[in-house]
Symmetry: C2
Subunit: 760 residues, 2 copies
């Protein structure tokens, strides 16, 4: 054994100040020239509001249970030995497998979208069937009781589903997915339980008439399916088939989740390109060209599957991959240059409304978190209360305005489109007449949107549009964050279409030739951009939904302005939700306020290091005495008391080595690769749930044995010098998807370590 | 002065083998267990054809004159001192400035697109005006002479323009732009000379009837404008205004070039979203969310500007941001599920044709490079020869087939679109009749495409489509690579539309209800994907061009299949062109064949290092004796003979320090920041063309002075340990956009350096 083995085998590099205690370090700077920034200045100027925010100790504590993911390749000697043997076939097979997984992912997500849409249609059909039975008889209170009763039942079941499956099945789940793709795992967020809970809760809540949409949850569902299908294991059952072994790592899983998120939104909107762009622009933190292609393929499969099923599985030979909300196609009338100014105003309004929505919704959620906590009864009660209020308003609002004659609606004949969406809801009106608000609120949201986008001239009166906009805005704020599954896209589109059409009709009082349906469309886009701050993705989704590119310029203009205006006030709703959920999200670039910080100011000096060859009993005591997830492996150097960086090893891998009793059989400094524990075996064991230290028992002989960490540690682990600035270290950390970043000094001694939470 | 200053002041770290000569390095591996890969194995299996290819010494030599770019921030002490002073306003101003630059970029590129389109229309109009004068009189040879004479004149001028402006003004310029965005600068490629040369050459070549399109060059033009407007300097005139100082670095320039490339294609196609996706999917190697937004904004401005100008600058108040090739909108008939199989076949054909195109074009270009070299006469002669051949074929091919009755064309009435594009070319036919091939070949390509996409039933006969496809395929291959500016998008769309319509009409012989115009559309998309291997970008461009999303599934399907099939045979035409032009392009991931290589196998051990404080005469002799672009700065350590890594400094920065005589005034190891040479000054000087060493003269006192490199060297330079594998180092290099990557050993001594060319 080398002399280094007789030294104390693990030590803490504590209280080492890389700046001052070094014997030879000319990195001293005369303090009168540069003031060294010893701690984070809290009053530094920033360009963005939220970025002012520094984590409080409580928040840091709450983030503790969210584990970071290993997106880096553990490039150890075992893997290198394995690579010597791999052939062209292996890589081809792995790539081919990814495409096959994407194919199945697309089909499954498409089927789920189909099931959700069909069941929702069925449930809503039933609801309106029974309600309309009383409506047609003119029995107001019976009709209301039936309507609100069914709604209440659906919401109750939906909320119970969330209570059973856990709160992660509620809301949209986008913050959790975004978090995972950024590098942290919210426990249980992509598990089977939340998947099934979310599907059922979504079906019920969307059928219940609450102001929630199916798109957000579909993203979560897609991601969960992506995670499940690519991993294909069950830690509960201890089922780990070898077939998917090569994909069973955080990096490949992340890619499939990226694909899944895109696929979910594609299937929900019937928008394959919009889905890909959503993943690129909003949810994914890591992207590659290869991923673009696979995502695109998968989105196409999902859209096709869901359309194929919805159109009766080929029972009609003609197919139509139309958008959900066909908008009609006019070549005769478009818009004038002067109207571009109006579209800018719509963008401004969308931005302000969006920012207001974020502000109110986030504060409501904060209140919920403080008052209702995780108490299922209070949560259920709240959901039911919102349901009753929604039912009352949606039902009785229609009585404010009188009935109007269906025959008075003027249809634009120049538009090349079937105008079936001008069929309005009769409600309690006499035959041949229709109720304005009933047509918007008493029905499903898709129909309401279609009516708002319909190219007719005098379908709605101004007051009814005002009332509709206010109602949908208030209830969207209130419904988001309830313990039911539900997203925000459709409610926000309704709000936007409401004020857009209102604005268009207002304009047409003074100007001639204004087509208010275009304003409704642009308003929807502006409102969506205003609350979630996406741009190109929203534009493409609107184009795919409405099947036409004629209104590209107005939509893009409004979306860009809405985003700028919204960003002026606050950040997107997902950013705020992630903050509220204590998800440690790393933005692309660090805030400007960190410009003056050096890495030595933020790094943790409390590094526990391990020698290259380490005794079992030392390993056990080190693992027991701290909860670090990675340990730099060091060499004692010539003097025998140095901590020269050699590599880094993960706690889980040490546990696997201990569990499998992979002891060192050599003498001196040779590295042996254990034939019984080759790369395949190592990969298999590390892809399982890590063994518990408490479940392992070692006899005296075993505890005295040594384990050689060198073949298993990451030899290509990235390190930085202690001269780094925080900003450059952040970029490295973020771009490479790191989890741990050891800091070395001029002698290659480990003086600190940076983890994800130090970067926030 | 410290003791280290008396040592020899710069030395070469040569012949140091990190593997064996170290006193204390346990990284030895028993050879019988792991065979160390001492050199690149040439017979290792790879998954991709071209990746088998290793650079020959000749190729490496040719790559020498292509300099790498500095995408990393030079995070030195000066910058840190400057950051202490910067306020919120500074960052806000910088961000705001980027948006303003994008605004102007969009307007300028839009105007250029307008100018090109208008002038081309004018020139083509003149050409056909004179030719048709003789045609209408029935004078065949006079008409031909006029036609071919004008074509010849245009080609001649176009080629002369390239000869004057340099060969970089020819072809599309996409490889050069891709190269720049990947991190290397082809000299002159984005300069004013090639910009103007390209614009004029493009106008002439596109008017001349050659099978070239305007889109590729527009990408180059957009990039060059982006580079020019964001830098706003002239090294020839020595004009360096301070206003744009903050953007005058390779990193910001790169981002504006990314934006410019997207804007160019947006303006050319009238496709803002397609442009953004083109930049994301094809040309850009580095991307961020912020860039998405700016690119999107800029593309919108460019598209809007060019449409606004084309539609008569608001002379008509109505506006229409239509695609160039409106396709018509049918809701009654779409396609059947069974036809999806046919679209797959089209994808297959597109892939095979695309791969064939790449193969033939690349070999032709290789032949050109070997035989014609850079000889302007041969190049001019070739261009003229191709022009004459094109004129002959395009003119006389029409006589092969008889005339057909215009009134026989059956127009699909279910399609909601003005059918003005069914107006055919009469050529030498009697009144009321038209010439089939004349309608396709004797006119401008836009019209030909519109006719191929027109929703009519019996416009073309099968033989004429066969002849058209063959002619356009052959001439596209031949025309690409001539010394005239010209891209491939439009010619490839014509080939694809030709065989697509042919296939559709063939099918309609056996099956009823086939709409061959859809096949033409899908064929175009498949052909484009087949030659350039883009996917989502092509789909979006096709949608934006044809203004409808009804045929999304067939297009996506054909594009994906064409890409797969093409990739089976070779790589995209741009990859091959980059190889031919010796542009050292780094793919996202290294080839699998490099899995077994370690960084010590590829790194250059011939590192020239500099001490932290260095004498002027030493610096001069070091700079004179080698042509390295960066030098690791080292510390002598306690023993005085170590080479401990401290930072890295660029040659250009040393030259600036020498030129400005920034000598060290301190004693010992203190670092002084020179008040007369602060960050602003440093930034200003380094953004200029670097001073020449030969132009500097130092007296004896100056040569004996010292320069302290510490305040100017990059203290946040990334290093790797010599235990790294090649693949992980490659990822780091590629993801962080590095130019130099020093390799350190267990003692932090510099043992090697990796540059871009070592990564190939």
């Amino acid at each position: 054994m080398g002399s280094s083995l007789n030294k104390p085998l693990a030590d803490r590099v504590q209280d080492i100040d890389g700046q001052s205690s070094m014997v030879f370090d000319p990195w001293k700077i005369r303090p009168e020239i540069i003031n060294s920034t010893t701690e984070m200045s809290t009053n530094t100027s920033v360009t963005h509001r939220r970025r002012n925010h520094r984590l409080s100790p409580l928040e840091k504590q709450k983030m503790k249970n969210i584990q970071s993911l290993n997106f880096t390749v553990n490039d150890n000697l075992l893997q290198r030995a394995e690579f010597e043997k791999t052939t062209k076939g292996f890589h081809l097979k792995k790539t081919f497998g990814k495409w096959i997984i994407c194919l199945f992912l697309g089909i499954i997500v498409g089927c789920i979208a189909y099931i959700i849409k069909t069941v929702v249609q069925l449930l809503q059909g039933l609801k309106f069937h029974y309600t309309n039975y009383y409506v047609s008889k003119g029995l107001q209170s019976e009709a209301f009781l039936t309507f609100s009763g069914i709604n209440l039942l659906f919401v109750c079941l939906s909320c119970l589903m969330v209570i059973v499956a856990g709160p992660l099945a509620s809301s949209s789940g986008i913050p959790e997915v975004k978090g995972y793709l950024n590098g942290v795992k919210v426990p249980e967020s992509l598990g089977f339980r939340s998947l099934f809970g979310k599907i059922i809760s979504l079906i019920l809540s969307y059928s219940s008439g609450l102001f929630v949409g199916p798109e957000g949850p579909m993203i979560h569902i897609g991601s969960a399916v992506g995670a499940a299908i690519s991993q294909f294991k069950s830690s509960t059952l201890g089922f780990y088939p070898d077939l998917f072994l090569n994909y069973r790592n955080d990096r490949d899983k992340r890619d499939f989740i990226s694909v899944g998120a895109a696929t979910g939104i594609s299937a929900a909107f019937g928008a394959p390109i919009g889905g890909v762009l959503f993943s690129i622009e909003e949810v994914s933190s890591f992207w590659s060209r290869q991923l673009t292609w696979r995502t695109f393929f998968c989105c196409m499969i999902a859209t096709f599957t869901s359309n194929f099923l919805l159109q009766g599985m080929g029972s009609s030979p003609d197919m139509h991959d139309s958008g959900l909300l066909t908008f009609g196609f006019s070549r005769l009338y478009l818009y004038r240059y002067s109207e571009l100014l109006c579209f800018c105003i719509l963008g401004l309004v969308g931005g302000i409304f969006g920012a207001t929505f974020v502000f109110l919704n986030i504060h409501l959620n904060k209140w919920r978190k403080e008052k209702l906590k995780q108490n299922p009864f209070l949560r259920l009660f709240e959901a039911l209360f919102v349901s009753i209020c929604t039912s009352i308003i949606c039902y009785y609002a229609s009585f404010i305005f009188g009935c109007r004659y269906q025959s008075n609606i003027i249809i634009e004949t120049s538009v090349c489109e079937d105008q079936s969406n001008t069929e309005m809801v009769q409600f309690f009106c006499p035959n041949g007449m229709y109720s304005e608000l009933g047509s918007l609120l008493f029905g499903n949201p898709d129909q309401a949107l279609r009516r708002l986008y319909s190219r007719t001239l005098n379908m709605f009166t101004l007051p009814s549009l005002v009332v509709f906009t206010v109602i949908s805005f208030v209830f969207s704020i209130w419904s988001s964050g309830l313990w039911v599954a539900g997203g925000l896209f459709v409610p926000m589109m309704m709000v936007g279409a409401g004020f857009g059409r209102l604005f268009g009709q207002l304009l047409s009082l003074w100007f001639t030739g204004i087509d208010s349906s275009i304003y409704a469309l642009v308003g929807s886009a502006a409102m969506m951009a205003g609350y979630c701050r996406m741009t190109i993705c929203i534009v493409v989704i609107m184009v795919e939904l409405t099947e036409g590119t004629q209104y590209l310029v107005p939509i893009i203009l409004a979306v860009m302005i809405a985003k700028w205006v919204g960003d002026f006030f606050n950040e997107s709703v997902y950013e705020h939700l992630m903050e509220q959920k204590y998800i440690p999200f790393l933005q692309t670039l660090p805030p400007h306020s960190t410009n003056n910080i050096r890495i030595t100011n933020v790094m943790s000096k409390n590094v526990v290091v391990l020698p290259e060859v380490c005794q079992v009993k030392t390993l056990i005591s080190v693992l027991n005495n701290n909860n670090h997830n990675a340990f730099p492996v060091i060499n004692r150097g010539i003097t025998g008391d140095q901590r020269l960086y050699r590599g880094i090893i993960l706690r889980d891998h040490i546990l696997v080595l201990l569990f499998n009793r992979v002891f060192y059989r050599g003498t001196g400094e040779e590295i042996y690769l254990d034939e019984n524990f080759d790369f395949k075996q190592f990969q298999k064991e590390t892809s399982k749930k890590p063994p518990q230290l408490s479940e392992m028992e070692f006899d005296y002989y075993e505890s005295e044995s040594y384990i050689d960490l060198r073949p298993y540690m990451n030899s290509s682990g990235i390190t930085i010098h202690n001269t780094f600035s925080f900003v450059e270290a952040y970029k490295l950390f973020r771009n490479m998807g790191l989890r741990h970043l050891p800091v070395i000094d001029i002698n290659n001694e480990v003086v600190g370590i940076v983890t994800r939470k130090d970067m926030l």
